[in-house]
């Protein structure tokens, strides 16, 4: 496998049905390492479905998802999990398991169901806990933590995997502003490190900080490009019924964008 193909994720004319209803239609996109993509769209647009399909958790009715050039279902479960990590909004049960054990599960694809964590796995767990500032409560039960603390532990689980492809569904939920900022820095630095980073975000100002913005509505990609492209920003405001305007912010010679609600 070449270094170029490693980490590449691709959706090729992907369509997903839920019963008789089409939730995703004819989606094609390529994701290369080195860029952070934010997927935005109104409720029911198919964002989480797209992310789950890219993760291989939903089998598309049409089209193919390829991971490193190979159809995702052709990878063994463990091989896929070593290359791709998925952070979803699935319900965590009332857990008495310690937070750091949850983070260690992120390394499970590496040490395997029947193997033992190595020193490198333990080091990755420590780094991930530090990265999401979850070390102070690492020994507490997951069920005893506040929603924000729990989210940081779950994020640390995804970080610890150190997978070349990382998909995050609503990673900022329950996080306060400093931790949202820290998370965005983490996503960016992972992308700069060569990983494919894709996140579904509801906070549009945070999404506008991404390298690439994918605007979804009614299960289709309406715009796909850099937030600096006017077409992408305009499409974004349109699919949200012009409920906000995108305003430029200049700081240190850089232009950034902010979504300002129109009240």
């Amino acid at each position: 496998m070449s270094a170029v193909s490693e980490g590449l994720l691709e959706a090729d004319r992907v369509g997903v049905m839920r019963g008789p209803r089409r939730v995703l239609g004819n989606i094609s996109a390529q994701f290369h390492g080195g860029a952070w993509t934010a997927i935005v769209g109104p409720n029911g647009a198919g964002k989480s479905t797209l992310l789950s399909t890219l993760a291989g958790l939903i089998r598309p009715k049409e089209g193919t998802v390829r991971l490193a050039g190979r159809p995702i279902q052709d990878w063994s479960d463990r091989e896929r999990a070593q290359r791709l990590t998925w952070f979803g909004q699935s319900a965590v049960s009332e857990a008495d398991i310690a937070a750091h054990e949850v983070v260690r599960l992120g390394r499970l694809p590496r040490y395997g169901l029947l193997g033992a964590p190595t020193a490198a796995d333990e080091a990755a767990v420590r780094c991930a806990l530090e990265e999401s500032e979850a070390t102070p409560f690492a020994k507490r039960r997951l069920g005893e933590l506040s929603a924000g603390e729990r989210q940081r532990v779950l994020l640390a689980r995804a970080f610890s995997a150190e997978a070349p492809v990382a998909l995050y569904d609503e990673p900022t939920i329950h996080l306060d502003a400093p931790h949202q900022r820290r998370l965005i820095h983490s996503l960016k630095s992972r992308a700069r490190g060569g990983a494919v980073v894709i996140s579904v975000l509801h906070d549009l100002t945070l999404a506008l900080a991404a390298d690439r913005l994918m605007v979804l509505a009614d299960g289709e990609v309406r715009a796909d490009g850099a937030p600096d492209e006017a077409f992408v920003r305009d499409t974004m405001t349109r699919v949200f019924d012009n409920a906000f305007s995108v305003e430029p912010l200049s700081s240190g010679g850089l232009v950034r964008w902010a979504a300002v609600p129109i009240l």
């Binding site: 291989g56 998925w86 979803g88 319900a91 965590v92 049960s93 990755a124 689980r157």
Partner: protein, 349 residues
């Protein structure tokens, strides 16, 4: 990160020592409790407690020792099955009898007793002739397995846990209704079946110890080997799959293990209430552990609970003895009420 790895400064496992120590302490405490209760079990006779070991030796070796050991093993199987059930169904109130094993075993016992009555064979739960007793134990085990198999067939496997639980309820109600109908038609089966329904350690002998020990010796290591599946399921099924776990296959394996443990325990002791539900709870309230340690400790706790219930049921009003299931039902029920009350207070606060 790489620099840290190379330096070796962060190679030591994190926070593992204190947790293991707490779990080890609990394990040792449970083992000690088991030994003490086991000794109490040897001393508890029909005319009160006796420490005249040499005089009582025939009774101890033939009756009390296998009974105590059998109670510990059956409780261990129930505790293990309960911990698996709560992990697989991601529900702290899941019970090993969930999937139709209890009603299946009950129906089989009633059928066997009623059939024995019809053909005039003096079959009953008190039958001493080993072949008849083996017949009832075998019937209960097969009934439990049949109940669970029916549940699995109705739910079309284990891929949809909610459907599986609902199928378990349906099978429980249906088989329970058939068993009740049979008991109405053949009242002579009622008395024997009642002892079974209440749960009893009174018929545990050396013949019971063997199958219980073999089942525990097989099921516990296998369950512990795959305990990480239960850890991952805490994060939800999708996350577990994304971690590379073949969840449907693993869930089927764990449900089969749970069924075998429950079936073996039910066959020997009848429907002992609450042990499988409470044992994992007690462990989780006491220490913070992963499922690997939880399965072992819940099994130990289940053994200690049933052993304690057995000793108490024999000692409360000798020479009479209470059915052990009554005692576990009362104590387990009160424990759950307290737990619910505390939880309610916690939420209100």
């Amino acid at each position: 990160m790489r620099a840290l790895e190379e330096s070796g400064a962060i190679a030591q496992p994190i926070a593992r020592r204190p947790r293991l120590t707490a779990a080890l302490w609990l394990g040792l405490a449970l083992l000690l409790a088991a030994v003490i209760l086991g000794l109490c079990g040897l001393a508890a006779g029909s005319s009160g407690w006796s420490l005249a070991w040499s005089d009582d030796w025939p009774l101890i070796s033939a009756i009390r020792a296998p009974r105590s050991l059998g109670a510990f093993l059956a409780g261990g199987l129930l505790g293990l099955a309960g911990a698996i059930a709560q992990g697989v169904f991601r529900n702290p109130l899941a019970d090993p009898y969930l999937l139709g094993s209890a009603s299946g075993a009950t129906l089989a016992i009633v059928l066997a007793l009623a059939a024995g009555g019809l053909v005039g064979v003096p079959i009953g739960i008190t039958a001493t002739a080993w072949i008849l007793k083996l017949g009832l134990v075998g019937a209960a085990f097969l009934g439990a397995m049949a109940g669970i198999t029916l549940t699995l067939v109705l739910a079309q496997g284990t891929s949809r846990p909610t459907v599986l639980l609902l199928a378990g309820v349906v099978v429980g109600v249906l088989l329970g209704a058939v068993a009740n109908l049979l008991m109405l038609l053949a009242p002579e089966a009622l008395r024997g079946a009642q002892i079974f329904l209440l749960g009893t350690t009174g018929f545990l002998g050396w013949r019971s110890v063997g199958p219980l020990a073999v089942m525990l010796a097989i099921a516990l290591p296998v369950a512990v080997r795959f305990a990480r599946v239960l850890d991952a399921l805490v994060l939800g099924e999708s996350t577990a799959i994304s971690l590379g776990i073949a969840v449907p296959r693993m869930r089927l394996l764990l449900v089969v293990l749970m069924a075998l443990c429950t079936g073996a325990a039910v066959a020997e002791t009848g429907l002992v209430a609450f042990v499988g539900l409470v044992a994992p709870h007690l462990v989780r309230r006491t220490v913070i552990v992963t499922h690997g340690a939880l399965l072992i400790l819940a099994s130990l706790a289940g053994g200690v609970l049933l052993l304690a219930a057995d000793v108490i049921s024999r000692s409360l009003m000798p020479p009479q003895e209470l059915p052990v299931g009554l005692l576990t039902g009362i104590v387990g029920g009160v424990y759950l009420l307290v737990l619910l009350h505390r939880r309610g207070e916690g939420r209100a606060g």
